[in-house]
Symmetry: C2
Subunit: 435 residues, 2 copies
């Protein structure tokens, strides 16, 4: 039976669509093309979709990995015209219409690049070597292990100055990820450290949030930024604006004002760049690493290649060189591309993409959030409820939704981040040349 199903897939008389990357954008394309007259192959280097907006909750021990991850094969399993390959793309060959991976070479009639972003260290090699990141579940678990290891080391020390080094957590970049991480760590200081590490003073722990801008959440409106700053300060986060990192050596983080912070943990959330693929250089904006696309998301000068989501840079009046690199754009561009591909199959022409911005939000600490709707903005507990609702309904399946809700409910009742497990100890890299 399996063999005949494979034969059935192979024999589909449809154009072959290869989708690279199963984030919000890629998965929207796969879901949209299920049952449509296309033979689809999804390629991702992970075997699962990761719901990135909640990664920081995995990093801070509120959610387990399986609450926000979903195996791709669970999604595509029931789709008779979709297959999946777990593979790392080594190169795209637009001339021969091929994608070359570590698992084999795949021909395409239509290529959809949805590879997302990687962390941007802006050329600071010492930070790239030593600082932690938050782009994958593995990295989130590293952060979880790290902060728990710092606690366990600090609690066995007698000297408060020594303790402070282990208990200083520095987050670089006050975008949503940095703000949400800082807020969650501040809550851990007030609940977990205070009550379950009684041998030390929880005030020894400090959370520093650094940003080179003069406000946090720089892409939000003024009211939301101000509100977020207030919330962070109320939680005891040391917010240092107009401040840049100039170097990181061992446990010394150097800042542009001449000061430095002794810390074991620097989390880098200061920016991203497009996760570009070899072979596509001609269409890449070298500054952002994103691919220039037309209003139909077709990559400039590359026939039958589309780029969607974070990796795509579509010029538009409202946002300039490209849309914000957020889930909403990825989902909308994915859905729009599906619409255009279906129109194409029906012999109709493609329609231009227009982005409907529905607002931005970020959660700060336990039960507060800011919601920015452009003109209007609001915050507090109600904003947190809105944030929660919006995130839960976006999760891939019922199981994920239920797991997230149960764990949030549990945290609400227990006032503790429960999943404080060091499964794989994190080993910090310092002064080691990686390449």
């Amino acid at each position: 039976m399996a063999t005949s199903e494979k034969a059935a897939y192979d024999a589909l008389p449809y154009p072959r669509v290869v989708v690279v990357g199963g984030g919000f954008a890629g998965l929207a394309v796969v879901n949209g093309l299920a049952g449509k007259p296309y033979k689809v192959l999804l390629i991702d280097k992970q075997n699962h979709h990761c719901f990135q907006p909640l990664l920081y909750q995995v990093a801070t021990a509120s959610l387990g990995a399986d609450s926000i991850a979903h195996p791709f094969r669970r999604t595509v399993g029931p789709m008779s015209n979709v297959a999946f390959r777990m593979a790392a793309v080594k190169k795209v060959d637009p001339a021969n219409k091929q994608v070359i991976t570590d698992r084999g070479t795949y021909d395409y009639d239509i290529l959809v690049l949805a590879t997302g972003t990687v962390t941007n260290f802006f050329g600071m090699e010492d930070c790239e070597r030593t600082a932690m990141q938050l782009k994958t579940i593995g990295q989130a678990l590293d952060i979880r292990s790290d902060f728990l290891q710092e606690f366990e080391t600090a609690v066995a020390l007698d000297d408060v100055e020594e303790q402070r080094r282990y208990l200083s957590f520095v987050i670089v970049g006050a975008g949503p990820t940095g703000v949400e991480l800082a807020g969650a760590l501040a809550e851990i200081k007030r609940s977990v450290v205070k009550h379950e590490y009684r041998e030390m003073d929880n005030e020894t722990m400090q959370i520093v949030l650094i940003d080179s801008n003069d406000k946090v959440l720089k892409n939000f409106n003024e009211a939301s930024s101000d509100r977020a700053l207030t919330y962070l300060q109320e939680l005891g986060v040391n917010v240092r604006l107009n401040t840049r990192v100039v170097g990181l050596e061992d446990d010394e983080l150097m800042l542009n004002d001449g000061s430095s912070i002794r810390t074991n943990t620097v989390i880098w959330a200061a920016g991203v760049r497009g996760a570009s693929v070899p072979g596509m250089e001609a269409a890449m904006d070298p500054r952002s690493g994103r691919y220039r696309v037309d209003p139909q998301n077709a990559v400039e000068g590359m026939p039958d290649v589309y780029a969607i989501g974070d990796i795509a840079a579509m010029r538009n009046e409202e946002w300039g060189d490209g849309h914000p690199q957020v889930a909403q754009v990825a989902l909308q561009q994915g859905d729009h591309l599906v619409k255009n591909l279906v129109r194409k199959a029906e012999g109709k022409e493609a329609l231009p993409f227009t982005y409907k911005h529905q607002g931005s939000m970020a959660v700060i600490g336990r039960y507060r959030a800011v919601v920015d709707l452009g003109q209007r903005s609001f915050g507090g507990f109600f904003a947190w409820l809105v944030w929660m609702f919006v995130h839960v309904v976006q999760l891939v399946d019922f199981r994920n939704r239920f797991m997230v809700l149960f764990n949030w409910g549990w945290k609400y009742l227990s006032w503790r981040n429960t999943i404080r497990l060091i499964i794989r100890p994190y080993v910090r890299r310092t002064n080691i040349r990686l390449r």
Copy 2:
């Protein structure tokens, strides 16, 4: 406040009990001594208790790590006379009554060793180097990553013989762990591989269970062993009894009958030995690695040192040199030691331990188990319900219980092992000298 709480703990005028190891035995002692006139320090190299009987379900993607793990600090946090240190014991110094760890040296008045077991490779270095184990959550996640990686590699291959190497899973040792793993993998073959890896024939996957005895579950009664063997064979497990492994080189597992199996995955569940600690050699049975204890669990010739659970070997009429190395013994010896320590504090003499064997059980495949009550035994769906009930009630807290029940319910409804995530790819070690 934190500082005064520390001072309060330090000032407790009670004898200091150091408990090494927070498995079933050690945790029973900690729970029992909470609020009693002892100053207790729990030392473990992990920061969490692991419910080992369900480890195989983490390895086979039915449960997430946080369903069966519980941070020690959540347990001891509310206990004013108990502290926790995450530390690896380097040595015990019975003469000076000290435990030396990588985080510091701790004095004891009473030492409780509950270090459990490590995998026993019986001197086969090639197996120790290359075979997988199932003693910790990290190892369980390695097995999960490994089998998923084998699937993803196999599905991209055209040659069926090559596929078979990646899809041959060999388990050495048909005790409860081996039997349960084999059954779970057989279910994955029938559900996951058949429906979500449609490009290949699920019959290419084979599960081989090897044991040198002439029956599976050798410590169970005849009826249970026979029933388990039948269940395994019905699930398509290739059970090879009276068979011993003689070598493992790269992907070639050599057996004592001259045959060999090409496989990428050998899981070693063939035996354990005591996780002994340097400094305690005089009391160790060199064959089993366990410490000889008297009927009060006091280690022979070591004043004020107790050994409980798997690491203890108490001579007794029914079981010979030591009790079976199972959770029941550990829990009962832990509880009994608490009783004796409380008696000691009250000036009463210690009572001898007697083990009440309540039966053995093992689950095979999805909804069947065998239950061995000594004289009587039963199997099938009802046995599985009993197995499920007994395991759920033993989990540490409500959250763990709920998570396990929800995930089992979900699996029941979806017929799939859901948590099929490769978070950290597993890298197999071959032909590399570890020491």
